[in-house]
Point group: C2
Chain length 307, copies 2
């Protein structure tokens, strides 16, 4: 027996030695089946290669390890596959962390209805009865816009992320709100990758902006690369901003003006909530985590505004 205190110590020792000698390892699948506890949780996400996720799940993993849970991450590939992946993974784990910001709402409802411990990360979905933890995208983006406005920017283009992503909607809402600060924003389709930022830049320039507000750091980096190719200097000719503050942001040239997303706090918070659900408690819904604006070198006075 492993763990119980209601047992003869001598016997326990004898057993321990035997298992050691035979290199016995309990079979996880069988343990899980018999006890209904797998002592592991699953993480489901759309893209393993997005560095933004790394900080989050790393923090989650240390939390899980502390509580002796294993963390298994899976990436889904085809749109529509999400729910299937979740359900499938669910029979091997006790709970789920869903980082999939563009999973269908109905699928989320389905998960909620199943009553399996699940927490939603970085997605706020009213009408879905699931604990969620997310960072505030709106306020810091507005702050960023304010910064741009104070530098004299007016015509700006927003390089959008995935239209179905909650975060994208939040950020774009903030940018639009910034009309009140004098900004005149246009949205150009792009995505959360370097390549997408690079490729969307030409269309963005068609709107003759003085600043590019990229969905995230990666897109911003791609845009800066394209601008450089076109002979435009950042920030002298055009300012560029990011979002997330990935590791590279501060080391890029120019260092990115961006928003520092509390990835570690997010991952820890996510674990705490999941762990509570695992214990059968209903975790209380925390407020949005706040992210902070940081000015670095990729933004400057708007060109032609007498800055």
């Amino acid at each position: 027996m492993s763990g119980s205190l209601t047992v003869n110590p001598e016997m326990a020792e004898r057993v321990r030695r035997a298992t050691d000698e035979l290199e016995y390892r309990p079979n996880g699948a069988a343990q899980g089946l018999a006890s209904g506890m797998h002592r592991s949780v699953g993480v489901v996400l759309p893209d393993l290669s997005n560095p933004y996720f790394h900080g989050i799940i790393k923090a989650t993993n240390v939390g899980a390890a502390r509580d002796r849970y294993r963390m298994l991450v899976t990436e889904w590939q085809e749109p529509g596959e999400e729910l299937g992946v979740c359900l499938d993974v669910l029979s091997r784990v006790d709970g789920l962390l869903v980082l999939s910001t563009r999973m269908e709402t109905d699928s989320l409802r389905d998960l909620a209805a199943r009553g399996v411990p699940t927490v939603l990360v970085n997605r706020v979905e009213l009408g879905v009865d699931l604990p969620m933890v997310a960072v505030d995208n709106f306020s810091p983006m507005l702050e960023l816009c304010q910064h741009l406005a104070s530098l004299g920017h007016r015509r700006v283009v927003y390089l959008a992320g995935s239209p179905s992503a909650w975060q994208n909607r939040e950020r774009w809402k903030a940018v639009q709100q910034a009309r009140i600060l004098g900004l005149d924003p246009v949205m150009v389709a792009s995505d959360a990758t370097i390549e997408a930022g690079y490729e969307a830049t030409d269309e963005a320039l068609g709107h003759d902006p003085t600043a590019l507000i990229a969905f995230n750091d990666l897109a911003a980096l791609g845009a800066i690369a394209r601008l450089r190719e076109l002979g435009l200097k950042t920030p002298e000719d055009i300012s560029v901003t990011g979002f997330d503050d990935v590791a590279l942001a501060r080391y890029a040239d120019p260092a990115l003006t961006t928003i520092v997303s509390p990835k570690t706090a997010l991952g820890e918070q996510a674990w705490m909530m999941l762990e509570a659900s695992l214990r059968g408690e209903r975790p209380e819904q925390p407020p949005l985590l706040s992210a902070t604006f940081v000015q670095r070198a990729s933004t400057g006075p708007a060109k032609g505004s007498g800055g």
Copy 2:
């Protein structure tokens, strides 16, 4: 019943309808236990946040999905924990992909002895009876050194990766070999991250080099950032090279001279071998995959050599 052809089609249809209505989902753990097949494989790696892994496991994942296998990835945290993680994961999967370039050889032997389908990625370990797939680090690194030598470089410093990593040993061997080309290399401890490259740069400069050969792209990017801070221009004042060709390398300023590692081919190859092991075949050992040197903008003539 699901699959068999020896069954009344009408009956099958009736069953299908019933399962659909009840939203029946077979329990993976139970299936695995009963049949000994989990239809899933595990990936074990030391650091989820290293972008180099992403391309590899992405390719592996599409292979796995094609063959209707699920891929579960786990990161281990504490050194020494590797084997335990592998063994634990093993009771939920049918095979393992080990990307852990610094796992102890004994642990590898243990895995091999268990006879579980396992393939080693990017690590060549003679004396361990496990199929492995890796890319050739030596030849392209030598080619890179040749490039540097032809530019007039002589005093170079190698910003090392983890000493226990196979890849680090291979790359350093090549750099040392390049003495024959006239290079005079010194090794400075660093690591495979931006931060480590940044931090090792000051010590590297103590050796008065004309070029920095970084263990990988990330370290190179970090070094370039530090050099810029110190007022040194790349490549005018000092050349810097990377390794891997991560997405960012070509978009950085200056674009990185580096080595393009065939990440997709590696991931695909790894899957093919694992799949063969899963079928009970012994996959034949493929040769090292080759990586190609690519010159971009971060290298130039050695300063002071009359280039």
